[in-house]
């Protein structure tokens, strides 16, 4: 079995759970607590990555420069990472400044069928001699064969690995097994998995992914992250070590960080809640949860109906604008439609 690399997205995906309001001191405390614990990289930034601070997804409390600079100053041993989705950020406005701020590891993401939109950015970063991985988001929406085709494109652009993002937490163990093994058998580069916990399977799915050849597991402390939360890294380390899989993690230090830094960072418990289960079932991007709740309140409609309708419309990550439109539409709907069981079932098909 390959050596495991843990990617720590606490300060990136976690930002989704607090409306992108992670502050300077929190970044300092987290980086100090986690530097040198053995995670491969600590990824920092807005929930949707570089360039995503917006009305569409939510403004960050800090600028990209402030977040990266703060983390950089407090990381000596662990690499600083950043995420970007082309279409949100650009080379000139975001990647070049991030390189100047000292980012060493980049993950470049796109919806799982659109790998060719990452070509310019992966190639640019490889030319700059940075460590670069491709990310296929919402992977549950494509077949294993299609995902392999897309991952191969990223490999040809120079990506050093491809990470499957279970952005909706919609994975069954069988899906993970089939998809990861298909990629592992045919790619020459690393394969990674980024689980979400909508159906309580994040850690189990990470384990399955590893057994099928994935050597990158991307998670967060306490599962702090979008929607139902992420794959809890403390759990992964506990489970893997018990299974005699070496993680290279200073476990006590990681647990200390979990206990001392996380309660203040999270603000609230990350256990499963009903709305996240609905969003997972409907196959909608986990990070839509807070904006959906907000829109439900604003337009006095049921947040669950919004999720089912979004699922029906097959929206992808980044389409937050549809939330308001759907909520506004539902608010004009009188009886017979949403709330009706047939309507919900139809949405799931």
């Amino acid at each position: 079995m390959a050596k495991l690399m843990l990617f720590d997205s606490t300060l990136r995906d976690g930002n989704h759970a607090v409306r992108h309001q992670i502050g300077k001191e929190q970044i300092e405390d987290y980086c100090l607590a986690m530097d040198g614990t053995g995670v491969h990289t600590i990824i920092v930034g807005h929930g949707n990555g570089l360039g995503a601070s917006s009305l569409q997804v939510g403004f960050s409390k800090l600028s990209e420069h402030e977040m990266l600079e703060t983390a950089r100053k407090n990381l000596e041993k662990t690499r600083l990472g950043a995420y970007m989705i082309p279409g949100f950020g650009t080379i000139r406005d975001n990647l070049e400044p991030a390189i100047r701020d000292g980012v060493e590891v980049f993950t470049i993401g796109c919806h799982c069928t659109e790998a060719d939109t990452t070509k310019q950015h992966i190639e640019f970063l490889r030319k700059k001699e940075k460590e670069v991985y491709g990310v296929l988001m919402m992977y549950h929406m494509a077949s294993a064969e299609k995902l392999l085709e897309e991952a191969r494109k990223m490999q040809s652009y120079g990506a050093m690995g491809v990470i499957l993002m279970d952005s909706a937490g919609a994975s069954t163990p069988d899906m993970v097994q089939r998809t990861v093994s298909t990629l592992y058998d045919s790619l020459k580069i690393h394969v990674g998995f980024h689980p979400h916990n909508n159906m309580g399977m994040a850690v189990a799915n990470a384990y399955t992914a590893y057994m099928e050849g994935a050597d990158i597991i991307d998670g967060t402390l306490r599962g702090f992250g979008a929607g139902a939360g992420n794959c809890q890294l403390e759990d992964v380390v506990a489970l893997f070590e018990k299974c005699r899989i070496k993680t290279g993690i200073d476990f006590y230090r990681m647990l200390d960080a979990s206990e001392t830094v996380m309660p203040e960072l999270m603000g609230r418990d990350m256990g499963q809640d009903p709305l996240s289960i609905v969003s997972g079932q409907a196959g909608v991007f986990s990070a839509f949860k807070l904006p959906v709740q907000k829109a439900a309140e604003e337009f006095r409609v049921d947040a669950r109906d919004i999720f089912y309708e979004l699922g029906k419309r097959k929206v992808v990550a980044g389409q937050e604008d549809m939330i308001v439109e759907v909520a506004e539409g539902l608010s004009r709907f009188a009886g017979g439609g949403p709330g009706n069981i047939n309507y919900q079932l139809e949405s799931l098909l």
Binding site: S54, L55, G87, D116, Q120, R313, E328
Partner: protein, 296 residues
Amino acid sequence: MERRKVKAGIIGTGNIGTDILMKLRRSDILECGIFAGRNPDSPGIQRAREMGVPVSADSIHAIEENPDCCEIVFDATSAGVHAINAPVLKRLNKFAIDLTPAHVGKFCVPALNMEECLKECNVNMITCGGQATIPIVQAIAEVHPDTRYIEIVATIASRSAGPGTRDNIDEFTQTTRDALTEFTGIKNTKAIIILNPAEPPITMHNTIYALIDHPDMEALQKKVRQAEAKIRKYVPGYKIVMEPVFENGRVTVSLQVTGLGDFLPKYSGNLDIINCAAIEIAENYARRKVSGGADG
């Protein structure tokens, strides 16, 4: 008496180029003089051949070798290729309409700056997202010059984004944002581009957000409707689907663009919005030539 038609060349035989070709058939003032790409077997070239249009696999060299084949050139290649083509077209004294996000020439939105653009020798059509949202953004900025921030989100069907668009996603995003600022004078702008692969494909959808301290919603709604009517003159499928509303502290407007279904099906409103705009400026240029204006 039948009026003289002005010849236009098209370089690039992908989605954009082929859709322009189909649209030129409807024009009473333009005709296609050359349809040039690099692949002699591309579906676009085949279609042009069937239509009896002169074709070439020699790209811009076809125009260099036979400069009389056209007066106007639609460049539907890629940002990198247009940067190389632009000086050649200038030397040949062609009116270049750039459909890539190269931004060599002046940004052009026919509803807003047609007259100024007709004085140029190279105009840039920005991007589909830019063509769809800038007139609305400009209307908002006109009512509220105090707008603090503008953001647009353009969502298009994956199937309508050809390899050129995908290879240029970075320029696409950057150029759209740069144009938002140039047309409104508002420094703080953002453009977000989303590709959605759903089947059946989704219709092109755009949302505009604005941060305004005390928005005059009535004035905004009126101005936005006026802008819509102006664009509908050259893009019939352009439709506001959510009038300006004030929600969560922001002004939000949504619009859809349904295409004419000339080359790709009707969901590809993104092709229509940029191509109809390109044809609008080309026809105006041609009309002046024919009526003996300028150097005609």
